[in-house]
């Protein structure tokens, strides 16, 4: 019988994606004061993936979260799905941009908080763009943008701080981590 070889990276992606999807679903059950405002804690997993294993792993986890998360909640191909999909795409583009800049200018390299803030703001931009162009093309929507971006900024800092702690703990527990992944 032929079997598909899976690498250690595949296992990391599977584990982290499962974690991100779980957080995504729990968060979707939380009541929100404003549509589009969520703590975005699932983004912590994407940030950890980016900081520890690189951008490609982060893309996998982010996309799997949006796809599988929406399938499980039942929002696949609904407005909610397109909002989170375009948010995730913009967020990943922002992360890639910051990572490239960090490599080019090591003196100004971003840390977890910087990545967290860019990722959260870009996520909101993507989501807002989709909401405006696809669903509510009314200029009054822009009055919400300052509040939405403020929330994104706060949650971006929070998720960056959490991601920083997770990465530090991961680094000091590399052995137990590789055991889990086997």
């Amino acid at each position: 019988m032929a079997s598909i070889q899976s690498s250690e990276k595949d296992h990391i992606i599977a584990w982290l994606a499962a974690l991100a999807i779980t957080i995504h679903i729990i968060e979707s059950a939380l009541p929100t004061p404003l549509p589009g405002v969520k703590p975005g804690l699932a983004n912590v997993v994407t940030l950890v993936a980016l900081l520890s294993w690189g951008w490609r792993v982060a893309v996998w986890i982010s996309m799997l979260r949006v796809l599988v998360g929406s399938l499980l909640i039942g929002t696949f191909l609904t407005p909610t799905f397109f909002l989170s999909f375009s948010g995730a795409c913009c967020s990943l583009a922002g992360l890639a941009f910051v990572q490239v800049l960090s490599r080019k200018l090591p003196a100004l390299a971003a840390g977890p908080v910087g990545f967290g803030v860019v990722s959260a703001l870009m996520h909101m931009v993507g989501q807002f763009w989709a909401a405006y162009w696809l669903f509510i093309p009314h200029k009054a929507l822009f009055h919400l943008l300052p509040v939405l971006m403020t929330m994104a900024l706060i949650f971006g800092i929070v998720s960056g701080v959490i991601a920083a702690r997770v990465v530090t703990n991961l680094n000091s527990n590399t052995e137990s981590l590789s055991k889990i992944l086997q």
């Binding site: 971003a110 803030v117 860019v118 300052p146 701080v161 702690r165």
Partner: protein, 124 residues
């Protein structure tokens, strides 16, 4: 406890992010309100109230002839008018509540309706 200090890049990104968010407040909460409807009047008399989110062309007949108004995605403008100086056409699009565009020779005026007009009066 943060476990890790902020890098120079983090600080730069935070400052940039704060500036962007602050400027969003300035731009979008700076008192301008986009209107939904516009009132078209001929010689000071109400002619029609139009929905700014229903694109279309309106032919408005004044004393000099027909002025054409265009509504497109929340904005309205004069596209032609039988006046001499074409001031109304040069003013271009209007979209904020309280904004006015008028063809004085043809006595046609357009005012954007809104809950809280941005301008009390306008002079040209």
């Amino acid at each position: 406890m943060m476990g890790q200090k902020l890098t120079a890049g983090d600080r730069l990104l935070l400052v940039l992010a704060l500036m962007i968010v602050a400027s969003l407040y300035a731009v979008y909460w700076g008192g301008s309100v986009y209107g939904n409807q516009a009132v078209i009047a001929i010689a000071g008399k109400h002619w029609r109230t139009v929905d700014l989110y229903e694109d279309g062309i309106y032919n408005v007949k004044g004393p000099l002839g027909v002025s054409r108004l265009e509504v497109h995605e929340g904005r309205i403008r004069f596209i032609s008018s039988p006046c001499d100086n074409k001031q109304c056409i040069h003013q271009g699009w209007i979209q904020q509540s309280g904004e006015i565009v008028a063809c004085v020779p043809n006595t046609i005026s357009v005012r954007i309706l809104g809950p809280d007009p941005r301008f009390d009066t306008m002079n040209f």
